[in-house]
Point group: C2
DNA sequence: GTCTATAATTTGATAGAC
DNA sequence: GTCTATCAAATTATAGAC
């Protein structure tokens, strides 16, 4: 594994738990067995690291979604895939969504990162709108996409806080059953 | 206004925007026109300040909820009050819920604060369960309460990030219309 | 309650050798 | 690409005078 990969892994682990300001170059240096000045070689400013992190997280998320919807046909199949991708992020990594956390910290972050997180959410909404039923009115599609996104993000936060992943399942199942 | 009130106001303003680690004693000192050592007189450790902040936020939230539901009779009336209290926190303060943000940062915070945030969520859920229709099965009540809480928290985060409070209204209206 | 002074540590960041 | 060395600033926190 390359040094930048190791750095991004370590940074993602820490940032998805404590937030942007909980990650320091020295922590990452000790995580990856190099010196903090070497971390700066890969990511000169913290902003660069944060941006790279959101970019990698975002493209991995979209890749997972594409993979899990390869054979999906119905809206329900697509939505179950969406739920499964987010659930995997919660359960396997034992952490909430990177963009959910950075979105909450929004005003305290560098502008470039704020905007990149916003882009992640916009891509989520566009995707959700694209897989909702054709006969659903456009305005309702948009509303439903927003509700599903917000619901899944809130569900991660609450489940993590209550230390009970079943809460995520309960909430998102109810959303998928009742909101369509 | 007392110094502790001024301190809590300043701390809440900052923490609800950038999170726990974005607030420093020196910032609060300059906000309130005293020295950082004097801030420590009021709140010896940062943990003390954070805890006091969540406690005040939580009791103000519960007070607002009690006030707005004084004449409420139906489940719908209670839920509209719940929505209104959270909406006011978003629109008037132009910031998301303190506990929503601290909940997301959970793992990076002192344990006492984590637990106090958890208590805020538990009180929310208990209240929601208590105002849901009598004929709703207990398990469904609990699921619905969790969905409503997560949905409102996610809606704040998304609306703030997209810089469009109408998104909050759209999401929470849909939840109140379809989830009951 | 507030101040001055200061300690101890952490943090983001850079210069320059290898 | 990584290291040593170092810096300037920020951060939490304390001691003691007024």
């Amino acid at each position: 594994m390359s040094t930048t990969e190791k750095l991004l892994d370590a940074a993602e682990y820490r940032m998805r738990r404590g937030g942007y300001n909980s990650v320091s170059f020295r922590d990452l240096a000790s995580d990856t067995q190099i010196k903090s000045s070497s971390v700066h070689y890969h990511y000169p400013k913290k902003e660069d690291l944060g941006l790279a992190l959101v970019e990698r997280y975002s493209s991995q998320f979209n890749d997972e979604l594409a993979k899990k919807t390869k054979t999906a046909k119905t809206t329900q199949e697509h939505l179950r895939a969406y739920q499964a991708v987010i659930r995997a992020a919660l359960v396997e990594d034992d952490a909430i969504c990177l963009c959910g956390l950075l979105g909450a910290e929004g005003a305290g972050l560098p502008n470039v990162i704020q905007h990149r997180v916003q882009q992640f959410f916009n891509e989520n909404i566009n995707w959700l709108v694209s897989i909702l039923p054709n006969d659903m009115p456009k305005a309702e599609k948009l509303a439903t996409a927003n509700t599903l996104l917000a619901g899944h993000q809130g569900a991660m936060m609450l489940a993590k806080n209550m230390q009970d992943n079943k809460i995520f399942d309960t909430i998102t199942n109810q959303l998928l059953e009742q909101v369509i």
